[in-house]
Amino acid sequence: MSGRRNETSATTARGSIRRQLFVQLLAVAAILSLAFFLIVREVAGRVAEATQDDILAASATSIADSLRFEGGEVTLDLPYSALSMLGTINEDRVFYRIVADGRTLTGYDDLPQARPSATAPRPQFATFDYRGDRVRAVTLLRPVGSGSTPVQVAVSVAQTRLGMAAISARITSIATAIGVGFFVVATALSLLAARSALSPLARMTLSVTRRGPADLRPLRTAAPRELVPFVDALNGFMARLRTALGQSEDFITEAAHRVRTPLATLRAQAEVTYRKLERPEHRQALREMIRAIDESARSAGQMLDHAMVTLRTDSVAHETVRLDELVRETCDRFAPTAGLKDIEIVTELPPAPVVLAGDRILLQNALHNVLDNAVKYSPADSTITVRLSAEPGAPRRVRLSVADQGRGFDGRDLKQLTRRFSRGSNVGDIVGSGLGLTIADEVARAHGGHLDISENSPGAGACIALVLPSA
């Protein structure tokens, strides 16, 4: 059903909830990934810097601890560990400077030194360029000496940031990998989430599409809260449709009854009267009357049939139909009618069952109309061959053909034949209408097939075939 549905779907899709949901989830994932990446990078940078600061502070502290006051001046015995500890993690360049009373005691005397306030003897950290590299420096203030005026010694240790940069680059690349991985996983999960979020919708769609055309009961599927209004609306709509369809069917049925019963009365009375009449001119007049009754009855019947077919083809039931049995049964039912003209209906059915998914009533009606036409247009003492076979050259298609030995169509207007109310140009003298073929054509189309009209050979009868997809 879906294939045909798509072809004829009147709804143009605008956007997709799933795509929208997916894109939104993806956007959230992307933002989170990016945030994660930025935060990790920032934290990594800070941690690396803090680590370096700690080591620098430890180094400066160990230098400060080695300061002595001897003989009126500050001396220093630089501990080996003070600088070697800076080389343990990485291969950064190291600079130091010790200043006592504004005079450089030792170290790199061009190393910029922060001026920590004596009141807050906390290590002062700074980052600046020195000797062609960016360095991180700590300056520590330590009073040395006793007495009332201890000497303020400023110890500075600086280190380039190569190792820190390497650490944070490594963490950044890990963060990038995790961020990308997170994004990929989030993408997959988003797809799943979008799909599962919409699964109730898919379930509801399935439960609606699986229904037969006559099934207009309210939907009882348990729906998520968000879909309840929609389900309610759908059920309300189906209720209205049910009423409307019921009214349509009732109307058609009622119309048929109103038209046919008086016609039947009229015809029966006319026939009774006819039998009692003797004079040929009276009989002839009554014959004309009966014929008019027949013609109007048949037209009315076909119009009502067509209306009903149109109503049903909007939503073809897809029950399993044994087409071979249907053909045999319909032909059997038709045999008495055909027999009135000594027309024999010959059925040629394949030995194996022919199964298709479709609407029994519609198919039966289509065949009925085709047979009706064939009987009408066939001469007495002829044969109508109903053949059910595989469609040559098209797998999974069956051909149900009805060939008569009537006058055919004189090869002229085969295309026009199925147009509503059109009639074969040479059958004006026979009650009937092209509506029968129109009905058959619509039924074939509703089943995804088509009607094939041909002539056995010019003047040697018509062949009407329903080509249908088999199951």
């Binding site: 046919r260 039947a264 009774v272 008495p336 003209k341």
Partner: protein
Amino acid sequence: MRFLLIEDNERLASAIAERLRLDGHAVDHATTLSAARECLDAAAFDLILLDIMLPDGDGRQFLAGQRRARNAIPVIVITARSAVSDRVSLLDLGADDYITKPFEFSELEARCRAVLRRRGGSAANQTSFAGVTLDATRGSLNTGRRIETLRNRELRLLEVLFNAPGQVFSKAQLMDRLFSFSEDVSENAIEVYIARLRKRLGGTDARIETVRGLGYRLVGPR
């Protein structure tokens, strides 16, 4: 044959009944389902003609009830409904056949015959004349030496003649029985069928005699 016609439309019912009586059938008429049940209790019928839209109920329910009660009288439903929606369910409910209003009586007759034939026929439908037996239900002719299967029109024509041996039937009368109102055929068309029947009866004592200027009649051995 004895018909029970269940039809609420009086005028239609009387027209149908009269038409059937013209062909020599007995017809009881009921306008409601309850009346129909009374008729069924009172007499035996060969066939029920049932309209499905009745004032005191749905004909389909009556049908289903009959079938549940194992009442085996054949039922032909006369329906005014759209064939599309009704045909299948009527058959499923146990109707033997259906016919859509309005209908040609010859078709009703053919269907009745077909239904009865499917149900196994009845001896009442056999007519014998001059050693030849016509079984209208089976559509066969027993000449004593062989059994011929008749075509539909042959049967109907022969039936007319067998029902009134010796009576002269005009061509027009015979044509009324043979051709539908929609067919425009000349009176000579009847001669074809007369010729066929003479062939079938060849070698028997029964003959179809041409009465010049009047028509045809069935006569016995000279």
